[in-house]
């Protein structure tokens, strides 16, 4: 196995294109485990952590841009990002241990395409756009279009996700992410839900977007959410409808972490609770 550590996106794309079967190394918390177990044996790993653009969190006129190799701890340490996107930050802060958060990257979490990835539902709710560079140039896609199934992505050969753009948000906006695991820390979501809300001056929901995770082959946009939440003040009846819609949209599997029925029930409860948290945060947000 070769190791390359390009200093630019262009060099990284060229390296990926020239070496068949090369893998991108960002945080490495999944890739190194695969190397050790032999489930991955790439001809080369292309370490993208020496590319400045992939390591930066920047606030621009368009919003926050998070480099794909930024690790969870860098996200949760970034006060302005946490203030603007508390839900995205809390999702990043739930992945693995302190040690794992010191390495595991946002791009890796999304591109490993685990149905249970914690940041993906939060990024979906945030309307995050993934910025991708490949042999044919640059393109941008909504984050929900990256994963196509467990471990599978829509990225073409040689393409790299370089950053995620979280759009600039109006006043009175906030998000929240919740997941269920059977213990307090260090586990993989049985179900997860991210909710992103913007309120009118009188506290009525003006805009809403919900992503749910671990209940289908990929994280899902909950299409019914805006129709249920917009125009309400997040009352009990609205939340009950939201929970029902989340359960209905879920297409979960039975596995050791939970049954189909349990996951449908839990994802509804999580969506409801995350909506309440996002609502309270948005009321307090400037």
């Amino acid at each position: 196995m070769q190791y390359q550590s390009p200093a630019s996106i262009e060099e990284a794309v060229a390296a990926l294109a020239s070496i068949g079967g090369a893998r991108v190394l960002a945080g490495g918390t999944d890739l190194l485990v695969q190397l050790r177990s032999g489930t991955a044996s790439p001809a080369a790993v292309i370490d993208v952590k020496n590319i400045a653009a992939l390591r930066a969190i920047t606030e621009t006129a368009d919003g926050f841009r998070i480099g794909a190799a930024v690790c969870g701890a860098e996200i949760t340490d970034h006060a302005a990002l946490v203030a603007a996107w508390p839900g995205v930050a809390e999702a990043a802060g739930l992945i693995g241990s302190t040690q794992v958060q010191g390495r595991a990257s946002l791009g890796g979490n999304v591109c490993n395409a685990s149905p249970a990835a914690d940041t993906t539902p939060a990024l979906i709710a945030a309307r995050a756009v993934a910025e991708i560079v490949g042999p044919n140039g640059r393109r941008s896609i909504p984050v929900e279009q990256i994963a196509t199934g467990p471990g599978k992505t829509s990225l073409a050969e040689g393409e790299i996700v370089v950053s995620f753009l979280l759009p600039r948000r109006p006043a009175r906006s906030a998000d929240a992410y919740l997941r269920l695991i059977p213990r307090t820390e260090m586990d993989i979501a049985v179900a997860g839900a991210g909710v992103n809300l913007t309120l009118d001056a009188d506290g009525t929901i003006a805009d809403a977007r919900v992503g749910i995770g671990a209940v289908a082959p990929t994280a899902l946009v909950l299409d019914a959410a805006p129709g249920i939440l917009v125009g309400t003040k997040c009352d009990e009846a609205t939340l009950a409808k939201l929970a029902e819609a989340a359960g209905a949209a879920a297409r979960p599997i039975d596995d050791k972490r939970g049954t189909v029925d349990y996951r449908r029930k839990v994802v509804g409860v999580l969506a409801k609770r995350a909506a309440l948290i996002a609502y309270e945060r948005a009321k307090g947000a400037r």
Partner: protein
């Protein structure tokens, strides 16, 4: 495949080594550099026995390739305290009997030091969350948490 030549800093000293691309930082610390205080527990980032500090971030040595160490500053258990001058976390672990078999102890001490470096006054909850990635199969964690609280109190009491 030719070995890679890596220049890095370990416990404040410049260090150079040769390694193969798949070798982890943990492999090189233990097998090439002879720093065997860092332990291999699971090798998959679940147990924290190989905790090290890289450029100020607590990470698992088993989840980092050794070639990635180029230009980095790495702290291992050997760089924390000295036999005649233990770090307050080490002293507290001894005084409070926060270890039994000792295998997890270097990882806990490195992790606890990293916590106290950024948060000198952590709550019990903060300590428990911070240390959630360090597994101990002997103590039941309570004495470890008390030792970290004890070390935090000692460090605050010391003149700057």
């Amino acid at each position: 495949m030719a070995k890679s030549h890596v220049s890095t800093t370990v416990n404040g000293d410049p260090v150079e080594f040769l390694c193969d691309a798949p070798e982890t930082m943990l492999d090189v610390l233990r097998n090439t550099l002879g720093l065997t205080g860092t332990k291999e527990g699971c090798g998959t980032g679940d147990c924290g026995a190989c905790s090290i500090i890289v450029d100020g971030r607590l990470v698992c040595g088993c989840l980092m390739l050794a070639v990635e160490a180029t230009g980095k500053s790495i702290t291992t258990i050997e760089g924390i305290g000295a036999p005649d001058r233990l770090h307050p976390v080490q002293q507290a672990f001894l005084e409070d009997a926060a270890l039994q078999c000792g295998f997890c102890t270097p990882g806990f001490i490195v992790a606890a030091k990293a916590l106290l470096d950024r948060n000198p006054d952590p709550s019990e909850t903060e300590i428990r969350y911070w240390l959630a990635g360090n597994l101990c199969r002997c103590t039941g964690y309570d004495k470890i948490v008390r030792a970290v609280q004890h070390a935090a109190a000692e460090m605050k009491g010391q003149p700057a």
